[in-house]
């Protein structure tokens, strides 16, 4: 057999792609995943900003009351320091509700929707 003929076989063989496949709806699934990833990041950012804002408002209002009505602010702080566990738990609970509303539920809802629609197993 001639060398050139073997070269021709190899040249043609190299132009054949690997035998791997992606699902038919790969593009849709991928853009959905990208969208969800961006949405998740935005949701998390929104939650963190809101938590920060609430804490900042609380600190600012306590600080303001400290100048306007020092005794009231001190009384409030003493109530908190006397029942730290209660206030910590209340804060965590409220914070979790906010977290669930902004991050967790949209994430679970998205997942639930995907499971309901079902992943296509068709391949092209």
């Amino acid at each position: 057999m001639k060398n050139e003929e073997l070269d021709l076989i190899i040249e043609n063989g190299l132009k054949v792609g690997p035998d791997f496949h992606l699902p038919v709806d790969f593009a849709l699934k991928t853009s959905g995943k990208v969208g969800r990833s961006i949405q998740w990041k935005n949701d998390l950012l929104e939650y963190l900003s809101l938590t920060g804002l609430i804490l900042a408002l609380f600190i600012a209002s306590v600080g303001m009351y400290y100048y306007i009505d020092k005794s009231l602010a001190l009384r409030l702080l003493s109530i908190i320091s006397q029942n730290p566990l209660f206030f910590i738990l209340a804060f965590l609970l409220l914070n979790f509700i906010l977290f669930a509303d902004k991050v967790l539920l949209p994430l679970l809802f998205n997942k639930w929707n995907r499971v309901k629609i079902g992943d296509s197993k068709e391949y092209f």
């Binding site: 057999m1 190899i10 063989g13 690997p18 791997f20 992606l22 849709l28 699934k29 991928t30 990208v34």
Partner: protein
């Protein structure tokens, strides 16, 4: 729609444009990732990771190279990182020729004379990762040497060398299995196409 318009649309938040981009370049990403990873079950996740990176970095794309080259670079780096992560990467080039020639036995692959292309595909999968990559980029995706240099970071000389050596290895193997009859069959197949 050309690539520049497509990028503009995606950056403006058009999700359909991104789906269009994925459709346009999924074969390129599949070929590169497929040849690197060689595992169907991991491929979809890796390809999705590639497109996620494409989306996240699209704003940084400066149009200094073709979009396909840029996406291929991301696909190559993601594939290499994936191999590194799961410790499947063997970068060393020592004794490649002997290892390849020793490990590949045509009889064990289920070779049929009428399917030489499939046989060559099987052989390519047994080549070292660098050889597989340059073969895919040059022959299958038809990138130039300069573009392959951009994608892989290998100097042009190395790319040419790998291509030459990969072909020499394949030739060495094929010499023993291709006889006059099968050559006739290949010619018929080629003419039919």
């Amino acid at each position: 729609m050309d690539d520049n318009e497509l990028i503009e649309q995606i950056l403006n938040g058009n999700s359909n444009a991104f789906t269009f981009l994925v459709n346009r370049y999924q074969k390129l990403v599949l070929h590169i990732s497929g040849r690197l990873i060689q595992r169907q079950e991991e491929l979809e996740d890796v390809c999705q990771e590639v497109f996620l990176k494409v989306y996240q970095n699209l704003g940084k794309y400066r149009k200094e190279c073709k979009l396909s080259t840029w996406i291929a670079t991301i696909a190559y780096n993601t594939g290499i990182n994936h191999l590194r992560k799961f410790k499947k990467l063997d970068i060393s080039d020592s004794d490649t020729q002997e290892i390849f020639l020793k490990t590949v036995d045509p009889d064990t692959i289920g070779y049929e004379q009428t399917d030489l292309h499939r046989y060559i595909r099987e052989l390519i999968m047994l080549l070292p990762v660098q050889y597989r990559t340059v073969i895919t980029l040059y022959h299958l995706e038809e990138f130039s040497y300069q573009e392959i240099e951009q994608i892989t970071g290998m100097p042009e000389g190395t790319v040419k060398n790998y291509l030459f050596r990969a072909k020499a290895l394949l030739k060495e193997k094929l010499k023993f299995v291709v006889d006059a009859n099968s050559l006739k069959v290949v010619k018929e197949i080629t003419n039919e196409k």
